[in-house]
């Protein structure tokens, strides 16, 4: 049991009514399909709800509504965050109805989906909110029964006073409890007493998903709503010169065709305001198909854009000038420039011992370079957003991971105070980082304002794939110095990309080596990039873990034992003081994966690769088994070991892990977006190869380390290590090390060269 102060999270306890005067109330007419139907709450719908705090409402019949604060994009926070509330509130999960909270930071605090942080950062506030409501129900019972509060216990939504035999459901006490003062301090449960956390609960929306209910922005509809599509420049580095809308405008069902600016010219950008095309053409009409047809009739001329610079604030705030260079870039040119930069000294990001001296006296140096291309996110729901903007207010419904940031952007663009802008959080058809960048909300809002009607903007798949905000292209060169006894003397990594370096300098193997040097560099570009499932880690893990595999072989060591030796050093006698990982937990997942995969036992025809990585506060090790069918690799099995502390919803956590593994294998094998003269060379799935059922592993096992550590996130950590598990297994299978992603392309070109 632990006592926490509720004060810290005071704003979560603001009543909706207390805020009603200040801003626009939550009057958004919810989709019919999203309302609870009486049969979905086991107890049926109550006549009246009583609000305990922002997260919890209890009905007079004992039914409970829990609000999920964070945007849902498939990581299942809409189930797991309310599970944390329900645990401390002590209610029966079957009586719980979950609703998505609208964007309302005064009440909910952090409402951001990204960096695998929802559970980690929500853990304490949600437990506190649940425990506080429970304490208020206990206080209400104590008052009603005239007994001391500390003699009252609760059990699954029932208040009990043992001595007098009195009992009451939460519903009976809810109206009184809602009027009581919020306690200053509350007790949290002992972790060993958890009944909901750690037991698998089905996705609270699974029924709606399986029956095709309108859950996504693209499904949203409102009286008088028009459909809008955009036309953006065909290439990075180009802008609109002129256009002729006459023919498009004359097409059936078309209301308006116009160009618009996404931001004002002097706008100071927020962190997530990445925008590729500052001016676009909007086509607005009655139905999607009509608008698609009219879009084809647009006659637009585009021209090469000059260099420009914008003011943009960093993640922490401070604004700086960012240059957007001119030019039509190509992958070939990128490769040449990256090679050139790889040869020059980079910025020193970390230096331990005397790596240069160690390399000088080395008997042998192993040097390898790894490359990876740009990747498109390809969320299955293309970019879309609903907006209704009038002279004095704006209402948006859209897929957005970072509503807080975009509310500032919208306020600046629309000239409306933030409290006149209501953003409602849609279930997203994927996000993967891309939906943190809210340009689509601004675009939809500007279009709605211009046409004076509610609109739903929908990108075609082609618009979506070619818009930008990609995973950057990267390269990393690893060097190891070995002495005559094959002892590792030093490690050197130099890595960069367009437009950022992928290095996290204080991460393993830093801390495990006396002599270590990390250098980074970056090349600017007008191709926009953004977070993509474990940004930077998703590349550097693949390079580092492939290199460690090759190094282990060079040193004649088992790849897992080699990593464990390094981690032992980092644990017992770490080098440097800024190491950002816990060597023991890191070793823990390697030991677990070793055991669960029966590492060391070989099966005929099966080739294994191992890889491990720490990012987003969680530790993961993976072993991948594949066999060759002719020249084609077939992934048979993946075993993952994960340490993310307490697992809230085990089966859903495993699902997330399986998905990240499949996604990673797909990107490792096939993911690539090349450019020619600024034009993305793929614009739909006939060209952009995605992993499909036949290429997915036959089996995936996700094992969690059992401990009592506060939970950390899962959406990203299983993704980065799988790339090297793939390449290390492919090496075992083919005898060839692969250095260039996507591996299937390299594999095929190697095969044809032979």
């Amino acid at each position: 049991m632990s006592i926490v102060k509720t004060k810290l999270d005071r704003r979560s306890f603001l009543k909706a009514s207390a805020l009603a005067g200040g801003g626009m109330m939550l009057s958004f007419s919810w989709l019919a399909g999203c309302k609870p139907s009486p049969k979905e709450v086991a107890l049926g719908l109550p006549d009246e709800w009583f609000e305990m705090n922002a997260f919890i409402k209890i009905g007079e019949n004992g039914a409970v509504t829990l609000f999920n604060p964070n945007p849902e994009f498939g990581q299942n926070v809409k189930t797991s965050m309310p599970m944390i509330l329900a645990e401390e509130l002590d209610v029966d999960w079957k009586n719980v109805w979950v609703e998505q909270a609208d964007f309302y930071p005064e009440r909910y605090g952090r409402q951001f989906t990204g960096g695998s942080q929802s559970i980690r950062q929500g853990w304490q506030p949600l437990r506190t909110a649940g425990a506080t409501a429970r304490a208020m129900l206990v206080a209400a019972a104590a008052q009603s029964w005239n007994v001391p509060a500390n003699e009252i216990t609760t059990e699954s939504g029932v208040l009990i006073h043992q001595a007098s035999g009195k009992k009451a459901g939460y519903g009976e006490m809810a109206s009184l409890a809602a009027t009581l003062p919020v306690p200053e301090e509350v007790e949290l449960k002992d972790k060993k007493d958890f009944k909901i956390i750690g037991t698998s609960k089905k996705n609270v929306e699974v029924n709606k998903i399986l029956t095709g209910k309108p859950l996504f922005t693209i499904d949203y509809k409102k009286e008088g709503m028009l459909v809008a599509m955009i036309e953006h420049a065909p290439a990075f580095g180009m802008r609109l010169k002129s256009f002729d809308a006459a023919e498009a405008k004359s097409m059936p069902g078309i209301k308006d065709v116009f160009s618009f600016k996404v931001h004002q010219d002097d706008y100071e950008h927020n962190f997530f305001d990445t925008t590729t095309h500052y001016e676009m053409i909007a086509v607005v009409g009655n139905t999607t198909w009509e608008v698609m047809q009219a879009k084809k009739k647009l006659k637009a001329e585009w021209e090469v854009a000059p260099e420009r610079s914008i003011m943009q604030s960093g993640f922490g705030g401070n604004a700086s000038k960012v240059k957007i260079p001119a030019g039509l870039e190509s992958s070939e040119g990128h490769r040449a420039r990256m090679e050139e930069f790889s040869k020059k000294p980079g910025n020193i990001l970390r230096r331990d011992g005397d790596p240069e001296a160690a390399f000088k006296k080395a008997a042998k140096i192993l040097e390898r370079t790894y490359n990876a291309p740009y990747l498109a996110h390809n969320c299955m729901e293309p970019v879309t957003c609903y907006a209704h903007v009038t002279a004095d207010q704006a209402e948006l419904y859209g897929p957005i991971q970072a509503p807080e940031v975009i509310s500032n952007t919208l306020s600046a663009r629309l000239g409306l105070p933030k409290e006149k802008i209501q953003i409602n959080l849609a279930r997203m058809g994927g996000g993967f980082g891309q939906r943190a960048y809210g340009h689509h909300l601004v675009e939809a809002a500007v279009i709605s304002k211009q046409v004076g009607a509610p609109i739903k903007m929908v990108y075609s798949r082609e618009d979506d794939m070619t818009y930008g905000i990609y995973r950057p292209t990267y390269t990393a060169t690893y060097r190891a110095a070995l002495d005559e006894n094959n002892k590792l003397l030093a490690l050197h990594v130099k890595a960069g990309g367009i437009p950022e370096t992928p290095i996290a300098p204080n991460r393993f193997p830093a801390g495990a080596l006396d002599n270590y040097l990390a250098e980074g560099w970056a090349i600017e570009s007008n191709i926009t990039i953004g977070a993509f499932r474990a940004p930077r880690s998703n590349f550097i893990a693949s390079a580092e873990q492939s290199f460690l595999d090759e190094l282990a072989e060079e040193m004649d060591k088992d790849p897992i034992d080699f990593r464990l030796e390094l981690l032992e050093r980092a644990k017992t006698n770490p080098v440097g003081s800024n190491n950002d990982y816990d060597a023991e937990r890191y070793a823990g997942v390697l030991k677990l994966v070793k055991e669960k995969s029966n590492w060391g036992q070989s099966e005929p025809g099966i080739h294994r690769g191992v890889s491990a990585y720490f990012c987003h506060n969680s530790y993961v090790a993976e072993v991948l088994d594949l066999r060759l069918e002719g020249n084609k690799p077939v992934v048979e099995n993946v075993v993952a070991a994960v340490d993310c502390g307490i697992v809230i919803n085990p089966d859903a956590a495993a699902n997330m892990g399986e998905g990240a593994i499949v996604d990673g294998i797909g990107n490792a094998f096939f993911g690539e977006l090349p450019f020619k003269d600024g034009v993305p060379q793929k614009n739909n799935f006939h060209q952009y190869r995605m992993i499909r059922m036949a290429e997915a592993p036959k089996k995936v096992e996700v094992h969690f380390v059992k401990n009592d550590i506060d939970p950390t996130g899962l959406g990203e950590p299983l993704f980065p290590p799988i790339f090297a598990a793939v390449s290390n297994a492919l090496y075992q299978a083919t005898g060839r090390r692969l250095y260039n992603q996507p591996f299937m392309k390299e594999l095929e070109s190697e095969i044809t060269r032979m």
């Binding site: 999607t288 798949r461 739909n684």
Partner: protein, 151 residues
């Protein structure tokens, strides 16, 4: 514009649209059946899969003019209470992540099992290969298909 008589989920629906309009957009924009999703528009992703006369088809690439005289089933018409064996199996395995592709996946699976009640792994791979899931739920989809086959 022309009038079309459609049989969707056992009901007759009359729409007045451009004959080239794909079934997908007729369902979504004209009939308010938005369970069928848009993902690519070129028959490459499977999000828009519906069952037409017993076969899984990509509704984004079939014009409404070709739909007259056929029987179309969408995710909304699969069962009244969401209890079709395939939906139940999907529920049991808690398959969806973001959920966007799942209606299409389910419709492909239903068509597969209607035509081949005991599919092998290869049969499943072949029948499901037109459906992309960016969230990577393939392993669970396969398990759910096997569960449904055995029910």
């Amino acid at each position: 514009m022309a009038t079309f008589n459609l049989n969707i989920n056992g009901k007759t629906q009359i729409v007045d649209v451009d004959p080239n309009t794909p079934i997908l957009w007729v369902l979504r924009d004209h009939l308010d059946l938005v369970g069928t999703k848009y993902g690519c528009g070129i028959a490459q992703c499977g999000s828009c899969t519906v069952i037409m006369d017993g076969n899984a088809v990509r509704s984004c690439s079939i014009p409404v003019s070709a739909a007259e005289g056929t029987k179309i089933t969408t995710i909304e018409g699969l069962s009244e209470k969401g209890d079709h064996p395939v939906q139940k199996a999907w529920m049991e395995h808690d398959v969806p992540q973001c959920g966007y592709c799942q209606a299409g996946q389910i419709m492909s699976a239903v068509a597969l099992l209607d035509n081949n009640p005991n599919p092998s792994d290869t049969d499943i791979d072949n029948a499901m290969n037109g459906n992309i899931c960016r969230c990577g739920t393939y392993v669970r989809i396969k398990k759910a298909i096997k569960t449904a086959a055995n029910s």
